[in-house]
Symmetry: C2
Subunit: 431 residues, 2 copies
């Protein structure tokens, strides 16, 4: 919908049809844990714009409960199944945007289709989880996966007073961090009262529990947080080229291999500015930026997508986590020789009662000193400092210059030397 | 002291003497308002390192209560008056660092030397103001000047339950902002219960009030917050060249016009990276960075100071203010043709109860779109976002590229598009 709004701005007279399988458009999937946890009052608050608003304001022919079942590139038409009236129709197009998003990974294990096993993706999921959280239908929740989504939804159920287990197959939660930083997040998870089980393989689901390599874990509700795969069945069937992790391959203008066909969001790939590699990163910010680029190009303008850094922030109770660029492990995998340094500090002047702990791990390239990435864990005021590193990374700064940055200082906001600058300075000594 | 610590690290055997007029070394003057306001428990908490710690750890011969009265560049010696024993002695040097700092501006008005009229600079000032705040010696405080220091100290007295007036000679508080943003700060000042008097000239001081162009304002205590001038009498008398606003002229290595003589901190000038002009900015972050550069060069290493952007953050009750680079007014004065756009948003996803208002004004160069500066006013979580703009400015980004930055997003931290990115995007439309 971000793309078609852009097209409408550029082409006031174009006929624009938006086909959506479900009943909603433009909602914040990232907000679902806060709805389930009770911080967001009602489901409608997560809806940024309704289909009717798009119809009225942008004159976009939004058809909800309309599922596209086929894309025919030769005839330049899509086959659409209208669920409400049970009709199937064909709609022609000059240009097509594929924004089919991602689908939560559902491992083909016994019991995976039980009604107690859920994803955290659509507002329908949200409604279902919310009912479980509030109507006493579940007392014990098992969250499968220790990534961002798993952690955020686990906290939501803890807030509701439910007993929560988190089952992670590997030896580390939040695998977008290095192991040493992941360990700090594990500590925060346990401190939040969540029963964390590392190195535990799920082998099946039952109505009242999860079967694992370490025995049975009782659960009335299971939430899957093991990642999102690009939803590309339609594109693949149409013969459109796929790229990394079977996401739709796109160029810098979000064009697919098919003429006049664009893709944006969780269904397609991105370019990583630091590693130089194609990556699949399913994040709302990336999706929205790609959509604007696609929309501009669809509308006859010119725009390219600048790529991603893999920046992300997350929160678990009072613990904040931020990361950008490459971890040490990722840097090595991408062919760099990294150096790294971890510093501890405070978020404000240490003499103020508002001072909170912050740990910054900075990763740089040996020799050149080029910033490769950073990871931050701390309390209030810690995580968003990752934006400083993201902006430095975007500009290919080295740690030495980074340590000279003229950042804002006053005692309630930062120590005299911001922890991020200290991390850069200390890392520069190892280059 | 930051410089001599650096020299010690580089030259383990150098003889280093530090001469300090007062009794303290290395304290946070910026922390004084928080001591007066009661957030910092005791004066000692503001002392980062005592003279004895410098003697013990860095083997620096720190002599407090020793006032340098003359610098003789030909004989390469300084004349020092030891206050404790009433002695005057001469100390030779091979290299000299001048770090005489700034002195609060004290206008030559009738009554300026009354004991009720104070600056906010030294720990002696801090002790005095603290006594007034806590021992019932003053019920009414007049703060002269509506800049950062004036605002912070005014809030401190409000916290203590005192009645506070703020007298500002011009039509705007916080003149490092454009008038439209200054107006928002004025609203916050009034909302905090401070009696703000704009366009009011102070003509004299009396024991129980301030005489102004708009009548007499009762006050048991007067605090001067009308800026800091470089303390350069010694340097000037020695024949060292002065630069902008009579601050000590230095090159990029912090060298003065005199061979082997360096300067750092509030006594000397800086280079502004955006305007390209020499400026005098009295801020702790700048002073500390300059000191490290001076120390490295004094120690036989090589370092240059990267310059300043004029980044600053401040807080008044729940209102946060941030600024970096040039305002519209400053951009015009520096010869640019600026465009600017102001946007309003929220600090977190708008559907969360933690969402707070934020206003971002972005200034860019017409034609090139180069970022020239930004001003932010908002509530919790607003001001430190100025660091994103500061890092973009440092790298001479344009607003279009800036709007593409991959910043951290999760509902408790930011809307999907960070307000800073929206401001950049909207400003790009005017370029």
């Amino acid at each position: 919908m971000a793309a078609v709004s852009r097209v409408r701005a550029l082409k006031p007279h174009a006929e624009i049809i938006a086909l959506e399988k479900g009943p909603w458009t433009s909602y914040s999937a990232c907000g679902i844990p806060y709805l389930v946890g009770g911080e967001v009052a009602k489901l409608d608050d997560l809806v940024a714009r309704t289909p009717q608003q798009f119809r009225d304001k942008d004159r976009i022919d939004v058809r909800t409960r309309h599922e596209v079942t086929e894309i025919d590139l030769d005839r330049r038409e899509v086959t659409v199944h209208g669920k409400e009236f049970g009709r199937t129709l064909k709609i022609g197009f000059d240009q097509l945007l594929i924004g089919t998003g991602g689908i939560p990974v559902r491992p083909p294990l016994p019991g995976i289709d039980l009604p107690s096993v859920h994803g955290v993706q659509t507002l329908a999921d949200a409604e279902h989880l919310l009912r479980h959280a509030t109507e006493g239908r579940a007392a014990r929740v098992a969250v499968v996966g220790g990534g961002y989504i798993g952690i955020e939804i686990a906290e939501a159920f803890v807030r509701r007073g439910l007993r929560v287990s988190m089952i992670e197959g590997s030896d580390q939660v939040m695998r977008t961090l290095d192991a040493d930083m992941g360990e700090r997040v594990a500590t925060a998870i346990r401190k939040a009262g969540i029963d964390l089980r590392l190195n535990t393989q799920v082998t099946g689901f039952e109505a009242d529990g999860v079967v694992t390599s370490a025995g049975r874990i009782p659960a009335d509700l299971v939430v899957l947080g093991i990642g999102v795969a690009p939803n590309t069945a339609l594109a693949e069937a149409a013969g459109i080229s796929l790229g990394v992790k079977k996401s739709i391959a796109v160029d810098r203008r979000q064009r697919t291999s098919a003429d006049g066909v664009y893709a944006a969001g969780d269904c397609c790939e991105s370019y990583h500015r630091v590693s130089g590699q194609r990556v699949h990163i399913a994040l709302g910010t990336v999706a929205n930026k790609q959509a604007r680029v696609a929309g501009t190009n669809l509308g006859g303008g010119y725009a390219t997508f600048g790529g991603v850094l893999g920046t992300a922030v997350s929160k678990l109770c009072s613990t904040e986590v931020g990361r950008t660029g490459l971890t040490v492990r990722e840097a090595i995998d991408a062919g760099f020789e990294p150096v790294s340094q971890t510093i501890t500090g405070t978020t404000t002047a240490s003499y103020l009662p508002s001072a909170r702990p912050i740990v910054v791990k900075m990763v740089a390239e040996k020799g050149s000193g080029r910033v490769l990435g950073a990871q931050i864990i701390g309390e209030e005021g810690a995580a968003k400092r990752i934006d400083i590193v993201a902006t430095a990374l975007w500009n290919e700064m080295d740690v030495e210059s980074m340590s000279e940055l003229d950042l804002g200082y006053a005692p309630p906001f930062s120590p005299l030397w911001d922890p991020v600058l200290i991390a850069a300075r200390e890392t520069a000594k190892l280059v």
